[in-house]
Symmetry: C2
Subunit: 154 residues, 2 copies
């Protein structure tokens, strides 16, 4: 993939649980090549800009699988703004606090809807290879369950 492709893939496929900016992607791709974890190839096609297409090396695959097997370390430090505001809910008018929660409810309802669309795609299409599909569905299920819990909480 090119760096641009990586960004698109990130946004469309794993966008609900991961993100990365160009400022991160481009320097890191270069670094991966320097470390022998990937190779680059310049692609020139008529009628489109030049692309730097990266491919993972065997060593890169090895390192990736090693990382995938490692226990999850970097738990995101908690910063839940809505809960913080709610914690001090006693000092502002009731209807404003209720408004904050109502807004969140709307957001999560919309989220659940898009999750439904993603589910339909995953189930009916032959998008992913069959080996990966159950895992993709598992990440989706996580989103659905926690979103439903948030909804009940609202």
């Amino acid at each position: 993939m090119s760096g641009y492709d990586v960004k698109c893939a990130l946004e469309t496929i794993v966008g609900h649980f991961w993100h990365e900016s160009f400022g991160q992607i481009y320097p890191i791709l270069r670094q991966l090549v320097a470390e022998g974890l990937a190779t680059v190839d310049t692609e020139r096609a008529a009628g489109r800009p030049e692309r730097l297409v990266y491919a993972v090396t065997p060593h890169g695959t090895e390192e990736l699988n090693r990382w995938l097997s490692e226990p999850v370390e970097h738990h995101q430090r908690p910063r839940h703004e809505l809960l913080l505001k709610l914690f001090f809910g006693a000092s502002i008018p009731r209807d404003i606090t209720l408004g904050l929660v109502a807004r969140r409810r709307q957001e999560v309802e919309a989220l659940l809807e898009t999750y439904g669309e993603i589910e339909a795609e995953l189930l009916h299409d032959s998008v992913a290879d069959d080996a990966a599909r159950p895992f993709w569905l598992a990440t989706l299920r996580y989103g659905q369950l926690t979103a439903q819990a948030t909804l009940r909480w609202c």
Copy 2:
């Protein structure tokens, strides 16, 4: 409170949904004074270190309440390492992926237990003033519901 007190309060009371380091707290307290949102007072008690005790001004309270009323803007950019690893679960041995999930289950089970203890404290003690208690319980309930959802997902 002193900066030290703020850190302790953060950790013990809202630690499950917010954090702040000393490197943030001390400079910001000073800044608050410069902006007229707080005042400082040096407290010297025999047999203990000098403390800088901060107090919020009327203007500070006003600003706080304004912020509390504002809609939540800064959603944490998603970075869910477990889901990302699971997404690529097809490329590593099954038992390793299952181990990652089992580990998460244990963590969340422990979390639910501590939530239970916090609930008991909130219900039986006269810890908080009565006006704040329902809001504190609401933040707790959020943690409990999403933790239970995560558990079911595991």
